[in-house]
């Protein structure tokens, strides 16, 4: 029986079968799932902010889409995943509060996180095969290493697999 390994906020981990990965309560954050279907090397990052270069305090590389995805990718390769086979799925990036006006730019960081994640994946040449982003609710995700399925749970909604 494998373990369900928890990935925290501003954190990233990789695993292989029989272990699986989860991250709980994605709001505006993004859960980036990377998977190599042959070696079954599986990785999950929970990023909070789009761009490490825009922020002075950027020591935790797992906090940002640009540096977090890079690190997850490097870890996957080091664990035996093939550059050409890695595919990605992303979830999260919600707008939890429908704020407008002066505070809106910082509150709407969810969409920026999703876009920064797509951009970074493209730059690394990783194919984004599916996503479940935006809207106004939190998501808990589970990433299964056996087949790369990405389960999305939300309050009051049916479980979705992408």
């Amino acid at each position: 029986m494998g373990q369900m390994i928890k990935v925290g906020m501003a954190d990233l981990k990789i695993c292989k079968p029989p272990d699986n990965l989860t991250t709980i309560g994605l709001g505006s954050c993004i859960g980036i799932a990377l998977y190599d279907p042959v070696t079954k090397v599986t990785g999950l990052a929970h990023i909070m902010l789009p761009d490490s270069t825009a922020i002075r305090n950027n020591s935790n590389i797992a906090k940002f889409a640009d540096t977090g995805i890079q690190k997850l990718y490097d870890d996957m390769i080091a664990a035996g995943a093939s550059k050409t086979r890695i595919v990605a799925k992303i979830a999260g990036g919600a707008k939890m509060f429908a704020m407008s006006g002066a505070n809106a730019s910082t509150i709407n960081v969810g969409e920026k996180n999703a876009q920064a994640s797509r951009d970074k994946l493209k730059q690394l040449g990783i194919r984004l095969i599916s996503e479940d982003c935006g809207l106004n609710f939190g998501r808990t995700v589970e990433l299964y290493s056996e087949d790369g399925s990405y389960l999305i749970k939300a309050v009051g909604k049916d479980v979705k697999t992408i």
Binding site: M9, I24, G27, N57, K63, A94, M96, V155, G156
Partner: protein, 206 residues
């Protein structure tokens, strides 16, 4: 006036912020008690510097459903504040407001969510009045926004706000207790030089 970061808020500042928390939460509690004719008391607030990665679990499990009320703060200082209630506490307050059976636990409808917003308005107004009175700064709240969702998801909002400038977040925890038990948490998220403005308005040398 220098720009101070969350990390530079040392013990002296923590005491000042704790006092603001105390007075603000006291005001807010009185306002709620008056509105609902409840007998309410309040714990001494705890002011904590929490690593942003841990914010999701300050109230309980990240997967617990909580109610978050968020308001923007404008004029002399800018930022936002959040008031958080666990689900039973929110139901309890809404039932009191709607004069309903205290055991009623159905999902919130539109009317209930309006009531939650109104509670947020009253609490935030009282809290900010206290802060404004102490500092002589004009502090205006925006209209409230409400979300009922997983704690991790709701708390990712302040985590991100603080995460832009720091690895830590300043959380003021206040438990508002009545005969039935309500727990509430305040998170004040000043932006830019607003910390410095608050502290210097209170005569704390920076």
């Amino acid at each position: 006036m220098s720009d101070i970061s969350v990390e530079e808020i040392n013990d002296k500042y923590i005491d000042v912020l704790k006092e603001i928390g105390n007075i603000g939460a006291g005001n807010a509690t009185t306002a709620i008690a008056n509105m609902l004719s409840l007998k309410v008391d309040m714990s001494v607030p705890m002011v904590d510097l929490t690593p942003v990665e841990k914010i999701g679990s300050i109230i309980g499990s990240e997967e617990d459903i909580i109610v978050g009320i968020m308001l923007g703060v404008e004029t002399d200082i800018t930022g936002s504040m959040m008031f958080l209630l666990d689900l039973p506490s929110a139901h309890h307050l809404v039932n009191r407001m709607m004069m309903r059976d205290p055991e009623y636990m159905e999902d919130f409808d539109e009317m209930d969510l309006s009531a939650v917003k109104e509670i947020g308005n009253i609490i935030a107004g009282a809290y900010l009045n206290a802060l404004s009175g102490l500092t002589n700064l004009t502090i205006t709240p925006t209209i409230p926004y409400v979300a009922v969702d997983m704690a991790g998801a709701i708390l990712s909002v302040p985590a991100i706000q603080f995460g832009m400038v720091s690895d830590n977040a300043l959380i003021i925890k206040t438990e508002i207790g009545d005969d039935l038990g309500i727990s509430g948490y305040f998170i004040l998220m000043p932006e830019g030089d607003s910390y410095a403005k608050i502290l210097s308005a209170l005569g704390v040398p920076i």
